[in-house]
């Protein structure tokens, strides 16, 4: 209660000072419309709507923010958008049904979940050459490259596992059983933990990765579940996951619960549930980590959450059935 009062006071103070967030450009994929909505973070106005191949879901920026990769599941392709011109300039032949992707820190290699083929495709970004394919469990989805680029973790939704790929040999080196329908995986910056959200299991598994050289020994050590008075357990479905800048907080869109959970990553406790639009899927922090933007799949909008006050400040209309969010600093072409 005290904390909430403080938060309210903070909110008032914040509005009075009205510090503008750093200018940024927000990209939102619209699964139904086959488009990417581009939003100016200062005005929160749509500056462009980019047409893509069919069913765009996962979107990810290159490390230098010059390119945006869009996984178009029904187009069986990845559209590459030049973030300066905001045009689709080339495509990557991803293989069937790409859903989520991860790019290594150098921007050389992209790891693609081919949902329909139970494969992770490893591709050279410049040439589009396939460097390897790794068979994983059924319906791979979540993809993340470790901070040191050594491993890629892929979740398989139907098999309920996190698969660990050694990026040098492009081979599977670990498989960790988690709760039902794992959607996303994220490493902590210190490389000590891998967090995995399980949508249907309704939990987040924290996997101890401190034995960094031996992914076969990585084990789930803690499980975080959710509870909101008045909501049924099956509505609490963690999907996306985003750490803040120092990994002290994790923001988790909870799907049918219409909320974003905020977790203290040290205590593993849920600090707050922020009410947003309906069926939030994925979100992203702004470049200065002062705002969190989450795409609401059923209400066709993007909710802006203030990170300090944990208040939903504004809702911005986007296309139909928004799914993924990516954010780059500055304005297009800057």
């Amino acid at each position: 209660m005290t904390r909430n009062c403080l938060a309210a006071a903070c909110a008032t103070a914040f509005l009075l000072v009205a510090v503008p967030a750093t200018a940024a450009t927000i990209f939102v994929s619209n699964e139904k419309d086959n488009t990417i909505t581009v939003i100016d973070s200062e005005t929160l106005k749509t500056i462009k709507t980019i047409e893509t191949a069919r069913r765009p879901r996962g979107i990810v920026l290159s490390p230098d923010n010059k390119e945006l990769f869009v996984a178009a599941g029904d187009g069986d392709i990845i559209d590459v958008i030049d973030t300066a011109t905001m045009e689709v300039v080339r495509t990557l032949d991803s293989g069937p049904d790409p859903e989520l992707m991860a790019v290594d820190s150098k921007g050389d290699v992209i790891y693609i979940a081919n949902e329909d083929d139970s494969l992770v495709t490893v591709m050279d970004i410049k040439s589009g050459d396939v460097l390897g394919e790794v068979p994983v469990g059924v319906e791979p989805e979540g993809m993340v490259v470790s901070p040191d680029d050594r491993y890629t973790a892929a979740t398989s939704e139907s098999t309920s596992m996190a698969h660990i790929i050694d990026n040098e040999s492009i081979k599977l080196v670990g498989n960790i059983l988690v709760d039902s329908r794992p959607r996303e995986a994220k490493f902590t910056q210190d490389g000590k933990e891998l967090w995995v959200s399980s949508e249907i299991g309704g939990t987040i598994s924290v996997i101890d990765t401190s034995d960094w050289d031996n992914p076969n020994n990585w084990k789930p050590v803690e499980k975080i579940s959710f509870e909101v008075p008045g909501l049924r357990p099956e509505q609490l479905q963690p999907v996306g996951m985003d750490f803040n800048e120092d990994d002290s907080r994790l923001f988790v869109p909870l799907g049918p619960a219409n909320r974003v959970a905020v977790i203290d990553t040290k205590t593993k406790e849920v600090l707050d549930y922020v009410l947003v639009g309906q069926r939030p899927w994925h979100g992203e922090f702004g470049p200065d980590y002062k705002k969190y933007y989450v795409a609401n799949g059923l209400t066709n909008d993007l909710t802006v959450i203030d990170v300090d006050t944990l208040k939903a400040e504004k809702s911005v209309p986007v296309g139909r059935l928004p799914w993924g969010v990516a954010i780059m600093p500055g304005k297009p072409g800057e």
């Binding site: 293989g95 069937p96 049904d97 081919n114 949902e115 329909d116 083929d117 139970s118 494969l119 390897g132 394919e133 790794v134 068979p135 994983v136 469990g137 059924v138 319906e139 398989s156 939704e157 139907s158 098999t159 309920s160 596992m161 698969h163 790929i165 492009i170 081979k171 599977l172 080196v173 670990g174 498989n175 059983l177 709760d179 039902s180 329908r181 949508e199 249907i200 299991g201 309704g202 076969n216 049924r232 099956e234 479905q237 049918p256």
Partner: protein, 411 residues
């Protein structure tokens, strides 16, 4: 026919477009799996080639391998998962001819040590198998029969029901009709045991949710051939006559398990009324146009194995196998007793493209699950339970027999 790991015969039908995994580096997967000491779970698919009526609509494909293809898919997927963490799954298949002795086949399978049975059987055969002394410790998964007695008076401790029963189907449609404010239902049906069962459940749903069966009418005209040279004219004349004397109603609820007249009703009834039931808008565990919550995976995977679209029984067979495989891998045990215990525990949360975890009701061992409303429509219309139908523990328990009304005494 015996199906071992990765040797599903239908796999040879894989279309070229899906050949991508062949070039994949499978060494990686092998390297990651513990060698040698795999835990093995063996399943038996027990069925009988019952006569099934031809669909009235020529547009409906005649499917002769319902169910087994879904089980074959899960065999592949369970091994794909098990391979990573040291489990193996095997499935044998025993489908007897329509005049064959399925109980003898069951005895044979049980004598060979099988305890996990996917039962593609009608109620009498299912009970005969379940009541064999040697089946006492078996785990039998009902993937075929919607008969309510199997969940009520005739329930058995060794049978788990994966397919929704008629009570769940009637409730799923009833909730939607009440939500639409279409509470007056004209029931038009045949009089087979299935139809009687379903019709009784519609009346039960009406009483539960404030609907009203304005009349329960048995359709008079006998079934006949489905493709007719003489054309549609007679039917066009007959259906208005058959429906004009009905009291005022909002929908026609057709109950026609044999599928010999239901599809004739749409656009032909005396009054302009939608048709729901066994034709028209149906309550089903699977619909061939359902794409939500990852369902595209199943929609794409079955055609690769079977060269046809999935039907409901493919889904229930896949789901039954999945329930067993998931329980084995998550509990770490493959004994029938341990698997059964896990399936009835709170830890059992099965993902199966319905947007929420599926589990079993402990009072009658019926799988609780959302039910898709589609079937006779080109796109799914909805999924029940509907908004506003509340339950103190599980919203899905608003569909079918809830604990207070169960007549099941599991022994």
């Amino acid at each position: 026919m015996s199906i071992g790991i990765g040797t599903v015969s239908a796999e040879t039908k894989t279309p070229p477009a899906a050949a991508a995994p062949a070039k994949a580096d499978t060494d990686g997967a092998k390297a990651a799996a513990p060698a040698g000491d795999k835990k093995t779970m063996r399943l038996f698919y027990l069925g009988k080639k019952y006569d099934e009526p031809l669909p009235l609509s020529y547009a409906e494909e005649v499917v002769t391998d319902k169910g087994i293809q879904g089980a074959g898919l899960m065999l592949k997927e369970a091994n794909q998962a098990g391979n990573f963490i040291g489990y193996a799954f095997e499935m044998d298949e025993g489908i007897v001819p329509k005049d064959g002795d399925v109980v003898a086949k069951a005895k044979e399978a049980l004598a060979a040590g099988n305890r996990f049975i996917l039962a593609d059987l009608e109620p009498d055969d299912l009970l005969a198998v379940a009541d064999l002394p040697e089946a006492k410790d078996a785990v039998i998964m009902n993937i075929r029969s919607s008969a309510t007695k199997l969940r009520q008076e005739e329930c058995r401790a060794n049978i788990f029901h994966v397919i929704p029963d008629f009570a769940m189907r009637a409730d799923a449609l009833a909730q939607y009709l009440i939500w639409k404010k279409w509470p007056k239902w004209y029931v038009l049906r045949r009089d087979t045991p299935e139809d009687q069962d379903y019709a009784a459940m519609i009346k039960r749903s009406a009483a539960r949710y404030g609907g009203k069966v304005v009349e329960d009418q048995v359709y008079r005209l006998p079934p006949g051939a489905r493709n007719l040279d003489s054309g549609h004219q007679q039917v066009q004349q007959q259906i208005p006559l058959e429906t004009e004397s009905a009291p005022d109603h909002d929908v026609v609820w057709v109950v026609n398990s044999d599928d010999d007249f239901g599809d004739y009703l749409m656009y032909r009834t005396s009054r302009p009324r939608p048709v729901v039931g066994t034709q028209g808008l149906q309550a089903t565990a699977w619909d061939k146009s359902y794409t939500e919550s990852g369902a595209m995976h199943f929609q794409n995977a079955i055609p690769r194995l079977a060269n046809r679209k999935p039907v409901e029984r493919d889904y229930t067979a896949w789901l039954a196998f999945r329930a067993l495989a998931d329980s084995a891998m998550k509990s770490g045990k493959t004994s029938p007793k341990a698997v059964k215990k896990y399936m009835l525990s709170d830890d059992f949360k099965l993902e199966a493209f319905k947007g929420q975890a599926l589990s079993f009701r402990d009072w009658d061992q019926q799988m609780r699950q959302p039910v898709v409303l589609g079937g006779g429509t080109r796109v799914p219309v909805s999924t029940s339970p509907q908004e506003g139908f509340l339950h103190q523990t599980n919203l899905t328990d608003t569909l079918g027999f809830d604990k207070p009304e169960t007549k099941c005494k599991l022994k």
